[in-house]
């Protein structure tokens, strides 16, 4: 079983290397994170906070946008694309179960994403440390950022598989993936913000808003990372948010994990119903 899952995963990684997907994802993450680290933190020099930590705060915001996008683009083709090309028929006529097939895809894509994050963000961390701008003390923050980014990526990979199992054409799946990204990453936040601004002291702001943040994996990810940084009062746009929450910020991590698990289970359920 494990060898079959690994065979599928290795195939995904190999294809990712060949069509330069891995290179592109790594490059995007590296360029944006370097730009944020070198330009964005310039005015923070007087705050007395480690630069690496400040950078982690900006990178958390970067991850919220880029990681879901990369994950959805990796995943949308996974099932409907293979149906379209006829390879799913051939693969599933081999002695491999559909769950194993999906697990292999997920493992391969997660490793691709992890590689891009480690190298892309790692370059930035290495640069800051060698420049003497950051200390090794900030490294745990960095590791936490990468680990939670991977978890965020898995959530959106799973959403991508669900979309891929529900649509018949890769083009439709791609359009749906972009729509999901727009809604969950951009519009969801805007809607929450709008509701908050409209009535800052109502029941929504105090009772519903924190849980609405928890429900969306992208927001849960940002909440957890900013709250975990001791310096969130200084650097975060959501200043002091962790103090006003009705729950422990660790719940955001739990919510993110539960979301990823549920979405993966849903995609595993959907792939069983497919006729390749």
């Amino acid at each position: 079983m494990l060898s079959r899952i690994w065979t599928i995963a290795a195939q995904e990684i190999r294809i990712g290397i060949r069509n330069r997907w891995i290179l592109l994802a790594t490059l995007i993450l590296a360029v944006f994170s370097l730009a944020l680290a070198l330009l964005g933190s310039a005015p923070a020099g007087t705050l007395g906070v480690d630069r690496l930590t400040i950078t982690v705060a900006s990178l958390a915001s970067l991850s919220v946008y880029l990681v879901p996008l990369i994950a959805l683009l990796l995943a949308f083709d996974a099932i409907c694309g293979e149906i379209d090309r006829g390879t799913l028929l051939m693969t599933l006529s081999c002695p491999i179960s559909r769950t194993e097939f999906l697990a292999g895809k997920a493992l391969g894509h997660t490793l691709v994403l992890t590689f891009a994050l480690v190298i892309g963000y790692g370059l930035t961390a290495a640069l800051l440390v060698t420049l003497g701008a950051g200390s090794v003390a900030g490294l745990p923050d960095f590791v936490r950022l990468i680990a939670t980014s991977v978890l965020l990526g898995v959530s959106f990979l799973a959403i991508g598989y669900v979309l891929s199992a529900l649509t018949r054409q890769p083009g439709t799946a791609a359009a749906a993936a972009i729509a999901v990204w727009l809604i969950m990453v951009v519009l969801y936040d805007l809607a929450l913000l709008g509701a908050l601004v409209a009535n800052p002291s109502g029941t929504f702001a105090s009772d519903l808003f924190p849980y609405a943040v928890l429900l969306n994996p992208a927001d849960a990810f940002r909440l957890f990372n900013l709250a975990a940084l001791g310096a969130s009062e200084l650097v975060g746009g959501m200043a002091g948010v962790s103090d006003s929450l009705p729950f422990d910020p660790a719940f955001a991590l739990v919510s993110l994990t539960v979301f990823a698990a549920l979405a993966l289970s849903l995609s595993a359920l959907l792939i069983r119903r497919i006729t390749p």
Binding site: T7, R85, T87
Partner: protein
């Protein structure tokens, strides 16, 4: 029946309004090469998908080497090549074959000699995206041969191939059958199947309308032999009169005769002596036989 590699009994499948497979029964023995013929939409691919366990049948029973379709013993012993597969273009032929070998639980090193067998050893290190259609089809065939399957299902393996590639495909099919595997291939290129298959199944509108060796099907169809006699200039009327009719067409006389009357007709023609310049004897081809069996169903329907 117990030693059949594939047994299909009264299998039916209905898609909303249309019967895709309608009460189909047959069984295939080890070492048989069987062609499944039918026009587009006759239900060939649907039948394959039912045998592989991808589609649920509405009724009937199927046994693949004694196991249920889609079960792991069935899948372990079955190989399938779908119609029109697009392998990942950025991978090499060797990588694609290794991938499928691993999925089938075989060591890639043991599967790679198959590339020699299908004539792809030189192209093994090249990307599949650079392959011609024939090369991709041969790669698919190599994939189907990994691990010595006992039942090989090939969906239109020769469609779009040039005559030489087709011949290679049929040679390979012969080799697989010689090793004791059953090969079931679908096709609508009929004439090339003569002498290359042991048995022919014909499907039309979801029903199995014929199941026999080609020569027996010819007999059953009872199609006439067409004779075309080219006469000396001006002798058309005379020849037609002597042979008792037939259609006149310029300098030629054409008529149909039954299989039993073939020699008699030829004797009569040779008796005409110098009135005749040339004779064409056109035996019914597989195309004609196929058309005969598909038509009978359409008339009934």
């Amino acid at each position: 029946m117990t030693n059949s590699n594939l047994s299909v009994q009264s299998v039916s499948k209905r898609f909303s309004a249309q019967k895709a497979v309608d009460d189909v029964s047959f069984s295939l023995e080890p070492g048989e090469r069987v062609a499944l013929l039918g026009h587009n939409g006759a239900g060939k691919t649907t039948l394959f998908k039912i045998i592989l366990g991808f589609l649920k049948r509405d009724g009937g029973a199927i046994s693949v080497l004694g196991a249920a379709p889609g079960s792991s013993p069935a899948r372990n012993a079955t190989a399938y090549l779908p119609e029109a597969v697009a392998f990942p273009p950025s991978l090499t032929g060797k990588e694609v074959l290794s991938f499928y070998a691993r999925l089938k639980g075989q060591k890639p090193a043991k599967a790679l000699p198959l590339l020699d067998k299908v004539g792809l050893s030189e192209a093994a290190g090249r990307r599949v995206g650079t392959y011609s259609k024939g090369m991709r089809q041969r790669l698919g065939l190599a994939q189907a041969l990994v691990g010595r399957p006992r039942l090989v299902l090939l969906d239109e393996p020769t469609t779009g191939l040039d005559p030489i590639s087709r011949q290679t495909v049929y040679e390979l099919i012969g080799e697989i059958a010689d090793q004791g595997a059953t090969v079931l291939l679908s096709s609508h290129a009929l004439t090339e199947l003569e002498a290359r298959t042991d048995r022919i199944l014909i499907m039309s509108k979801g029903r199995l309308v014929a199941d026999d060796a080609l020569s027996s099907l010819r007999e059953q169809a009872g199609l006439p032999i067409r004779m075309k006699i080219r006469t000396r200039p001006g002798a058309v009327q005379e020849v037609a009169a002597q042979l008792g009719g037939g259609r006149m067409n310029g300098r030629s006389v054409e008529f149909d005769c039954g299989l039993d009357d073939k020699i008699k007709a030829l004797t009569a023609i040779s008796a005409l002596g110098s009135l005749v310049e040339d004779v064409d004897v056109h035996a019914p081809s597989l195309d004609d036989v196929y058309r005969h069996f598909s038509k009978t169903v359409q008339k009934e329907a």
